[in-house]
């Protein structure tokens, strides 16, 4: 088992180096190759998760949070472009750490796509929400994130960042050759979603202002109740 996982890691590493080399050699495909690169770093985190044998309780906890992140938009069906998914993942990352936050984001995106229908956006959504959880977890010890102001900044930044990551999938299709696409058109493309991203940011802020305190309290209570405090 040990040896097998080492082989897997080594293989992935070689693959990454190979991709790097390819992207230097065939620089006109750099966007596609960098996508491959990101995908592999992705696999690294999932493999790390795979190696750590988790308790039933911890798994169930992650699954509940991912499912809530996925269905959380239902009550807001009557209010356009408001959904609490990003908020739920962010708070989960803050309380349960980077790895758990990442997994919750990835699973929430994957599972809801499996139910609603997958498309080229699936891996991007997994990545975007995974990164929301990951970064929230990475910064959870920082002074900034312990203040509401810090969280709000985080929420605003991710509102836009999320939209940009999601735009990448169509950008990828447009930009097959690096030279064809100039900076101006990228800007324009990103700007086209700016209104949506703005609403995303605003709703993140509203949720954070109103609910971050109570949610962190609830999740911390359950962290203790599930016996996950020591980690």
């Amino acid at each position: 088992m040990q040896i097998r996982s080492k082989i897997v890691y080594a293989g992935l590493f070689i693959f990454m180096v190979g991709l790097l080399w390819l992207s230097l050699r065939y620089s006109d495909n750099y966007l596609l190759l960098s996508f491959g690169f990101v995908l592999i770093s992705f696999l690294f985190i999932i493999l790390r998760f795979e190696k750590r044998k988790m308790e039933a309780r911890e798994l169930v906890l992650l699954a509940v949070l991912a499912a809530i992140a996925a269905v959380g938009r239902i009550p807001f069906a009557s209010i356009p472009s408001v959904q609490p998914t990003t908020f739920v993942i962010m708070i989960s990352g803050l309380v349960f750490g980077a790895e758990s936050g990442f997994m919750i984001g990835v699973i929430a995106a994957l599972a809801s796509n499996m139910i609603l229908g997958q498309g080229p956006w699936t891996p991007w959504q997994m990545m975007a929400w995974g990164l929301v959880g990951l970064t929230a977890g990475l910064f959870n010890q920082s002074r900034l994130m312990s203040t509401l102001k810090g969280k709000i900044i985080f929420g605003i930044v991710w509102g836009f960042l999320f939209g940009w990551i999601m735009n990448l999938w169509s950008l990828l299709a447009i930009a097959q050759s690096g030279e064809a696409l100039n900076i101006k058109s990228i800007y324009t493309y990103l700007a086209s979603s700016v209104l949506f991203d703005f609403f995303h940011s605003i709703s993140n802020v509203i949720f954070l202002v109103l609910f971050s305190k109570s949610w962190i309290k609830i999740l911390t209570r359950f962290k203790r109740k599930y016996g996950l405090m020591e980690k």
Partner: protein, 292 residues
């Protein structure tokens, strides 16, 4: 409706879709893309007369048009000017570029529509459980919880409305607040209940031994051969692509659209790969005809 291709081992299905998506994304050449587009259209027609594609049609169409237009709109580069509008040069190169991108995106979307039909959650879970068992359990639990949470949210909404807390009334900010209150009740309630789920997993021995997986799907000889066949086809295409075949260079100087002889061979392999499910289904129909 579930055809022969559906009956293949999930790894065959999955490899086909991943390969096909990769091919239509990297082979940016009008002839290649047109061939791919035609094959996929035929496949969807053959499969269910566009039944599943119908609901995606609008999305595909608008995405295609948008991508087709965005390039010539912002990109003036190219030697062949088609026409000029208010000082903006629309070039053949940029239009061609936009057209190829649009065709490629539409093809990818068509592949995904068929993917959603064939790769059921069960198949995907099976694949994950082979390679990432713990991830698969997490995914399985989440897929089980989603419908449960949905029903709980309905119940919560019902009770809270009876108490006078409704998301359908009041100012914008109040409604968001109430909506999130529902989700918060769902959170507390579900986390409380889920302890029992974890207990039920432990009571059934979860985490005590190395797990085995119930093999829903068995990789038989036919599956392995098919997989090998697909991998060979894909490798040829990829090799060709990296030596510059099957793609149209537009900048700095546009190549001729015509194919060089060896590209015809690549095109044939490319078409054969994309056609695979279609060939399987047609073969099945012919066999039925012969039998009856």
């Amino acid at each position: 409706m579930k055809g022969r291709f559906y009956a293949f081992h999930p790894i065959v299905n999955f490899s086909y879709y991943m390969g096909a998506i990769l091919l239509v994304m990297i082979n940016q050449h009008p002839i290649f893309l047109f061939v791919a587009f035609s094959i996929l259209i035929t496949f969807h027609f053959f499969n269910d007369c566009f039944n599943h594609m119908k609901q995606w049609l609008f999305f595909m169409f608008t995405t295609g048009i948008l991508i087709f237009l965005i390039n010539p709109l912002f990109n003036e580069r190219g030697r062949h000017v088609l026409f000029e509008v208010m000082g903006h040069r629309v070039t053949l190169e940029a239009s061609l570029y936009g057209g190829m991108s649009a065709l490629s995106i539409i093809s990818v979307l068509m592949l995904f529509i068929s993917y959603n039909e064939v790769m059921t959650p069960n198949k995907l879970l099976f694949l994950f459980s082979k390679f990432l068992p713990q991830f698969a359990i997490l995914l399985m639990l989440t897929l089980r919880f989603i419908p449960l949470m949905r029903r709980r949210l309905d119940e919560i909404a019902a009770v809270q409305v009876s108490k006078g807390i409704s998301v359908k009334q009041g100012p914008w900010k109040e409604r968001i607040k109430k909506g999130m209150l529902y989700v918060q009740i769902l959170l507390t309630y579900s986390l409380e209940e889920a302890i029992q789920t974890a207990d039920s997993m432990k009571a059934r021995g979860y985490g005590q031994k190395k797990r085995s997986t119930y093999e829903y799907f068995r990789l038989n000889k036919k599956d392995s051969l098919t997989l090998l066949f697909l991998v060979i086809l894909l490798s040829i295409c990829l090799y060709g692509r990296f030596t510059g075949l099957g793609t149209l260079t537009i900048y700095p100087l546009m190549e001729s659209i015509g194919l060089v002889p060896v590209e015809y061979f690549i095109l044939l392999v490319y078409a054969l790969f994309l056609c695979f499910p279609l060939l399987v289904e047609i073969g099945e129909v012919i066999r039925w005809r012969l039998l009856n």
